[in-house]
């Protein structure tokens, strides 16, 4: 078992190196596919921080994505800010926004909080649609990435890749620190946590601002990558649902679960999509049902329990660590 643990680390390093150098051998379509995969991995990881660790189901978390995308778009086109500068403003702006709206709505629990975040998503879409600064319903066209299509492919590939690595490191730090314990205590029983000496408000707000930061950075990168955004596209509920699916599938409240879930779903839907069109949702649903039945804590749980792939194939049940 210890051997497998050691090998697991080699495996991670191997995957890291693979993704670091793989663009040298791939062309447009595959690079864009992987970029998209990394993007969803960051989104799933950021929703994991507030929902997986803290237990607050922010279904409308995509509004930070829209907020980030529009902040970058408006700053770059209307005020001619450089990309990185607008990106930083988008990230910290979204964090601040999470704090401000979090103070009132993080008092809500369970489905009430969930509905409030969906409400915010709808609200922000309506505001963006009716504002002239944001180009209204027609959307905004951003400047094209200098250096041509191929350079843009590489740039956004590494942008999303390193953002993903950053989000993993951040979640890893949280899981090992005081914050992780406080977040999980709040998730399992907020009242008991409070009697044990945890002041829930600052922790919840912090979790949501971190989540907002990464989501907004993803949105900002996405806007520059696509060079065109409109309110209906970036303020959507469906990607939020997908993020949750990825998180639950891989393992909510674990560091690498949501990442694995994102890779899995993106690859499956991409590979199955072309061949079965309508049927691919059915297959996705089936996979989800199987995962929920056999590993309700997500399939990363199997690895945490020290189950090596060979044992998995032989169908040996996970034993205690």
């Amino acid at each position: 078992m210890g051997n497998w643990r050691k090998r697991k680390n080699y495996l991670f390093v191997g995957i890291f190196l693979l993704f670091l150098f793989v663009p040298l051998f791939l062309r447009g379509y595959w690079i864009r596919l992987l970029t998209n995969m990394f993007m969803f991995a960051v989104l799933a990881e950021s929703v994991n921080i507030i929902a997986g660790y803290c237990g607050y189901l922010a279904l409308g978390n995509m509004f930070f994505f829209g907020l980030g995308a529009y902040t970058v778009a408006v700053l770059m086109t209307k005020f001619s800010f450089p990309f990185y500068c607008s990106l930083l403003i988008a990230g910290f702006g979204a964090s601040f926004f999470a704090m401000v709206v979090g103070l009132p709505i993080l008092r809500l629990k369970g489905q009430y909080f969930l509905m409030a975040t969906v409400g915010l998503l709808e609200l922000l879409r309506e505001i963006t649609t009716n504002l002239s600064l944001t180009g209204g319903g027609q959307g905004i066209t951003l400047p094209i990435f200098p250096g041509g299509a191929s350079a843009a492919n590489y740039f956004f590939y590494y942008y999303m890749f390193f953002l993903m690595i950053l989000s993993i490191l951040c979640t890893f730090y949280i899981s090992k620190s005081h914050f992780g314990f406080a977040f999980r205590a709040i998730k399992f029983d907020e009242d008991a946590a409070s009697v044990i000496g945890i002041n829930p408000t600052p922790y919840k707000t912090l979790a949501w601002s971190i989540s907002a930061f990464f989501t907004a950075l993803t949105g900002g990168g996405y806007a520059y990558w696509m060079t065109y955004i409109d309110p209906g596209e970036v303020y959507q509920i469906m990607p939020s649902v997908k993020m949750y699916l990825m998180m639950v599938l891989g393992g909510a409240g674990t560091v690498l679960g949501p990442i694995a879930g994102a890779f899995f779903i993106e690859l499956i839907s991409e590979l199955v999509w072309g061949k079965f069109l309508e049927l691919h949702l059915l297959i996705l649903g089936l996979v989800l049902v199987l995962v929920v039945i056999f590993t309700p804590k997500g399939f990363i749980d199997l690895i945490h329990k020290g189950l090596s792939p060979s044992k998995l194939l032989l169908g040996i049940k996970a034993n205690k660590v």
Partner: protein
């Protein structure tokens, strides 16, 4: 006499229901203070008020001379009040050790490193007898062990006052004896204890003083012996059987 916790005319209404009415009490530093009474007499409500989970309708509570009325639960905890819940509320989905760690990390105001907290927690878990099960998931341990864990988590908070809410309910006689010993040892180390208990043998055996609540009112306060002989307590709580046994005893003596 050195008073640790003092309640003055403590009153709590839930809508039209008087859960507690004008309850006056004081808990002295270093004692084990028993709290008994029938179901629904307001015992757990009183603990929830001390913890700050429920706001008071009337009256005041002081801990070491500091007024608790408007403080939040975590602020009250940081003053030095630890709590083990009646309905076990350990965090499912964490291991035994992690549960106790939460108490150790957040139960006191000062920040400490995780490795330091782990060291403390391992000692405490050994003390309550959970040492060998440290890395178990909550779903893998028995109710008795969960109750022990509740106690361990409360102890990890280094409280001056420990609130124990029916930690012995549902345990077998041997387990009860073990837990009584643990509670006495904790008390000897200088921790004041407020204990709610239905197991009469236990609460009569270890308490220095006992308060009896009935329908939200204090009907008696005194030493275990005084309580056992109090007419009103017998009528409303200890019951006829207990009273008859007492009468039989007196007849025997006569």
């Amino acid at each position: 006499m050195n008073i640790l916790l003092e309640g003055k005319r403590v009153t709590k209404n839930f809508g039209g229901l008087n859960a507690l009415r004008d309850v006056n009490f004081e808990i002295r530093r270093g004692e084990i203070f028993g709290l008994i009474g029938p179901n629904g007499s307001g015992k757990t409500t009183l603990l929830n008020i001390i913890n700050g989970i429920f706001p008071l309708t009337g009256g005041e509570i002081y801990f070491e001379g500091k007024r608790l009325n408007d403080l939040k639960p975590y602020q009250i905890t940081h003053l030095g009040i630890g709590r083990a819940f009646q309905i076990v509320r350990v965090f499912e989905g964490m291991t035994v050790k992690e549960n106790a760690l939460v108490g150790s990390l957040f139960g006191v105001k000062e920040r400490k490193s995780i490795s330091q907290a782990i060291k403390e927690v391992e000692e405490i878990l050994d003390f309550v007898g959970l040492g060998p099960k440290m890395n178990y998931q909550i779903s893998e341990i028995t109710i008795a062990d969960r109750k022990r864990l509740e106690l361990a988590r409360a102890l990890a908070m280094h409280p001056k006052l420990l609130l124990l809410d029916e930690v012995m309910a549902g345990l077998n006689p041997k387990e009860i004896e073990g837990l009584m010993e643990i509670i006495l040892t904790v008390n000897k180390k200088g921790v004041t204890i407020l204990i709610i208990e239905h197991v009469m043998k236990a609460v009569m055996g270890i308490s220095h003083r006992i308060m009896v609540l009935h329908q939200g009112k204090k009907i008696a306060i005194g030493s275990p012996k005084e309580i056992a002989e109090d007419e009103e307590v017998i009528k409303s709580y200890l019951g006829e059987r207990f009273a008859q046994r007492k009468i039989q005893k007196e007849e025997w003596n006569n």
